[in-house]
């Protein structure tokens, strides 16, 4: 006889602003909720380790070229809009804050607050991406996109093109991760609306939170490395 599946019956109550009595759905491969939660959490941390290695590779390349062509990189970096970069940094840090609030509210069973904070995080993420898109547009207009149309004052042009190659690759990879993150947050928002999360089970919120914080931390490294080369107050 196959081992009987342990499945708790979900109970959904609509209209209740705070409490939902959802019990955890335990996937059939797990013995209990605790094992499921531990496995999922370890899984997310291992995944974040892979992301560190992924971004680490390109960070290493950037740092090597930065030390090789320090003057050119400073000149290129100064063409980035530091104010937009600063605003974006603030936006992302706020979005991490709203994410923390979302996790907290899931833990204390405040469904409306959870939904609000998830929505805020999504919106802040969209603001970030919009500003980024605007920056990309500006760079296109200024002929700073690497390729045939690239133009930069004479002596530093090749190294500056390398700088902008890294700029677009690194911020582009980062943006892809943010888009995925926003998608995940949208999924959380939808399920939160269904009353899926409770103090007993809000692991997905926590784990997406971990991912979102990681994406934020990557930006915290990107910003000074790309925008603040050789800047003076």
């Amino acid at each position: 006889m196959p081992t009987p599946m342990r499945k708790a019956k979900p109970v959904i109550r609509w209209g209740s602003p705070s409490m939902s009595e959802t019990s955890t759905v335990i996937a059939h491969q797990f013995d209990d909720a605790e094992q499921q939660r531990e496995a999922s959490t370890l899984g997310m941390w291992v995944f974040l380790a892979t992301e560190v290695m992924f971004f680490g590779g390109i960070f290493l390349g950037y740092i090597l070229y930065r030390s090789e062509y320090s003057i050119a990189f400073a000149a290129a970096s100064n063409r980035l809009d530091i104010w937009l970069g600063l605003i974006n940094t603030a936006v992302l840090i706020c979005s991490s804050f709203t994410m923390v609030l979302a996790v907290y509210n899931a833990a204390v069973a405040r469904r409306r607050a959870l939904q609000t904070n998830l929505l805020l995080t999504i919106l802040l993420g969209c603001v970030f991406l919009s500003i980024k898109l605007y920056e990309y547009h500006m760079k296109f207009e200024e002929n700073l996109v690497p390729g045939a149309a690239f133009a930069f004052p004479a002596p530093h042009a090749p190294a500056a093109e390398i700088f902008f190659s890294f700029y677009f690759a690194m911020t582009g990879m980062h943006a892809v991760h943010m888009i995925i993150g926003i998608g995940l947050l949208g999924g959380l928002l939808f399920r939160a609306g269904r009353g899926r999360y409770s103090p007993e089970y809000f692991t997905p919120v926590e784990l997406v939170g971990l991912y979102w914080h990681f994406v934020d931390v990557v930006w915290i490294f990107l910003f000074p490395l790309l925008y603040l080369v050789g800047r003076h107050l």
């Binding site: 062509y69 003057i71 050119a72 004479a154 002596p155 530093h156 090749p158």
Partner: protein, 317 residues
Amino acid sequence: MWQNLPLLPEQASTMAPRVDALFLFVLGVAVFFAGLIFVSIVYLAVKYRRRADAAAPKLIAGSLALELLWTVIPLGLTMVMFVWGALLFVEIQNPPADALEIIAVGKQWMWKMQHPDGHQEINELHVPIGRPIKLTMTSEDVIHSFFVPAFRIKMDVLPGRYTTAWFEATRAGRYRLFCAEFCGTQHSGMIGSVTVLELSEYESWLSGRAAGTSTAKMGESLFQRLGCASCHRPGGAVPAPSLVGLFGSKVALEGGRTVVADEGYIRESIIDPRAKIVAGYQPVMPTYRGLISEDGILQIIAYLKSAEQGTGEAARP
């Protein structure tokens, strides 16, 4: 030691017997351990083959003494290999000071060699026996690799950079030169030969060719033609660092660093002059990227070296 063992290539350079000796040592260790394992497995598998009447095997968990033994002994042997190999490698990488300097430029799919007297060879290199030869090499396109099995030398040839290799031939003959880094369609066609001549034959080969301009002289005329001389001379149009005695000297840069003026530094100064600014000078030198070939850069380097050595062959810059 042993000349031309079967299954080994000819030994035609000073390094070849030394590489082969190290190879034979490692081979001896490898054969010993491979034999040990093979014999042990066959012996144990036969001796302890399953028999209906035999007792069931006892649990033998392990032996710390054995583990230490077969960790420490291989460690010791490998460290001998490492030290021997590293010392040999240092010698393989460092040419003697009095080497004859040859320029080798690899490009898809041929080798261009240039002797100091300016003579060029394509896919061929004639050298005298018993004289160290130093190759300064670069590529015009992709990565190639200069490989002469009989000399036991190999060095990748890179675009945008110089690499060096050296050998001293010990036997006259014609030895194969291969490209050993995949470089495109005719990679396996990028084959040439190094011909080692006895000294007298080498002399007659040298004199048998039409007298040409030496590499350094070619460099001098480029130096004039490209306008380098207009700044890099006393009282030049714009203050520029003197190039007399430059090669091999230490150069103080803006920002406090010092670098040694080797081939790579000179090449960079021509292609990307703003990369390193000499202390006390302005970054006004224009770039010659696209205006001078790799051959040309190497000729200018030869010119600057000759002036440093005071051979008198070329006018001082």
